[in-house]
């Protein structure tokens, strides 16, 4: 017979996730939820004080992510995550600010903000969950939809547009930490999130693309099967490279090959650190 009272243990991530918001709004088989879990585990490793963390998301499926984090969190209008995060970071540089949103939000409507935040090298972490499609609005073509005979609700004859290589785009714009993983790479993704947050504090903007499975729309329209089948495809076509051995321009990502890994890590001056020097000099001045 067992002596004593039974003790209740909470979920190991309950500190980071708002339990009263669960279950997730996401479809069955969607990999945004497991990406949120990876981020929560990364927070658990590198965030000393939850009060000093702000998660920002925009509109779309991944746009709902911020609402699940038990941190400071804000759900902006479509595409405006990065300028909102920029305002937070400049107003209080002590905060860790993480943007967690989708490809439509960050790369299409928010594309201008992405390239300028990267150019400015502001110390925020940007996670772009790329599922190749607009999910929340019913499955339309995105700037990440692969070119060719890929069907979406707005490309019924296939997609004739070239696709953004997000790693190349972020690196060319000036992001100082750049990585890509698929939803399958849970351990590496978590490490990378932790690395990115630490990098952003010291050296400026970190960008991570997470290739994600949308079985409801992209998978269904393109005969890729269910979520497990899609992840098997990701497993087959992804190639994990040694850190910083492949240049961003060569880090190919389409549905024949997805090069995964860390591609850029530059120890440059971060924007708010630079601005702090201006404030200190101006306050001393006449």
């Amino acid at each position: 017979m067992i002596e004593g009272e039974l003790k209740e243990y909470g979920h190991p991530l309950s500190e980071w996730i708002r339990g009263d918001r669960l279950p997730f709004v996401f479809c069955s088989g969607c990999t945004i939820g497991s990406t949120i879990s990876c981020m929560a585990r990364a927070f658990d490793r590198v965030i000393e004080n939850r009060n000093n963390l702000v998660v920002v998301s925009g509109i779309g499926c991944t746009g709902r992510a911020s609402g699940y984090f038990n941190t400071g969190a804000f759900h902006t209008t479509h595409g405006r995550t990065i300028p909102f995060a920029t305002g937070v970071k400049i107003a209080n540089p002590e905060l860790d600010v993480v943007v967690f949103s989708g490809d439509g939000d960050i790369v299409a409507i928010g594309g201008n903000h992405l390239i300028h935040a990267a150019r400015r090298n502001i110390g925020i972490t940007v996670v772009c969950v790329n599922n190749f499609i607009y999910g929340m609005t019913g499955g339309q073509m995105a700037p990440t939809t692969p070119k060719g005979e890929y069907l979406t609700q707005s490309t019924p004859y296939g997609n004739i547009e070239r696709t953004f290589n997000l790693v190349e785009l972020a690196a060319a714009s000036g992001a100082t930490y750049v990585a890509r993983w698929t939803a399958l790479h849970q351990v590496r993704m978590e490490d990378s999130f932790a690395n990115a947050i630490l990098h952003a504090r010291e050296f400026g903007m970190a960008f991570i693309e997470i290739v994600s499975a949308c079985p409801t729309y992209f998978g269904k329209y393109n005969q890729m099967g269910d979520s497990i089948d899609m992840l098997k495809i990701f497993e087959d076509i992804s190639e994990v490279v040694e850190p910083f051995t492949v240049s961003p321009g060569d880090a190919k990502s389409d549905l024949t090959k997805i090069v995964c890994g860390e591609f850029v890590k530059l120890n440059r001056a971060e924007f708010t650190h630079e601005y702090r020097r201006i404030i200190e000099a101006s306050m001393k001045g006449s």
Binding site: N51, G72, F74, H75, A91, N112, I278
Partner: protein, 380 residues
Amino acid sequence: MKSDRSVLTGIHYVMGNEAIAEGAIAAGCRFFAGYPITPSSEIAEHMSKRLPQVGGSFIQMEDEIASSVACIGASYAGKKAMTATSGPGFSLMLESIGLAVMTEAPIVIVNAMRASPSTGQPTKTGQGDVMQPKWGSHGDYEIITLAPYSVQEAFDMMIDAFNLSERWRVPVIVLADETIVHLKEKLIIPPREKIRLKNRKVPRTSPEEYRPFKSNKDLVPTMAIFGSQYRFYASGLTHDERGYPDMTPEAQYRLVKRLNDKIRTNRDKITRVDQFMLEDAEIGIVSYGISARSAKGAVKEGRRRGMKIGMLRLRTIWPFPEEQIRDLAKRVKRVVVVELNYGQIIHEVDRFTGSTKIDLIARPSSEPIHPLEILEEIQN
């Protein structure tokens, strides 16, 4: 000891844009995000120099959408934040006005109106954007809009704008115009102790009990900031008191009603008008901003000619000073609305003048209306 450089007490001779910037700093503004645009650029330029001197931050963003949403971020991180623009940029900021209304973020936006629509005449004046703050963003909302008519008032109104914004947790728009922002005249900056500042109400409950969108009688919730012990979620989606998205009709009704009612039911605490020679007036001009400056000249000249004429100047445009217009219409025989557009605010005035005769003097022009032109039109 370092001197206090946030309030430059003394007598100055400056342009409106500089007065706006100094007013903001005196009001406690410590964050500015903006994008260059004529005729408001001097505000950004002045802030880029002055803000770091008082420990604040300036950033030039990639566009006006980014500028306005960065202000919401800075406001939620605990800073009094503002941006400044003109018509084309203000059109881009309408999205953020909606977000600031929905998330109850105190921010201040200056629109130095120029001749419009579209690119119009960037270096010329106008009052064509007067309806836009109230109706430009989608959905039902109430905000606050002030219109300065002198360099001194531009300074004073920035302090009012930040105080109102913090008090009611709404975006406040300062609707200046090209003439006022580029006009140079005397500015008296009072001593710091004479400037009254209001700050947002902060929560006093425990973090566990804190509900970021729960309000009491005055319908304005307390506001926690990022980096504090209160961890909260705020969203542009319709939300409940916890800030969590709620897609029920009841939640929509409850939230949108409160967001509007917190301004509508407190209109008397917010709206301000200025009465000029109205005591025995039979003709009452209603005007605002640069047109009120012209109309003041018309009233003075009219009085010299023996006319019983005065002016009600709208310092607050939104919420519209309904009671004050009703009161004026009861006292005068004729109301004359003067504005530098093709007739906009007259439709608001008309709603509250009852059977009193109402006339419009409006020009879709790009230079201030001459006082004598106003007078001649009234006399004809």
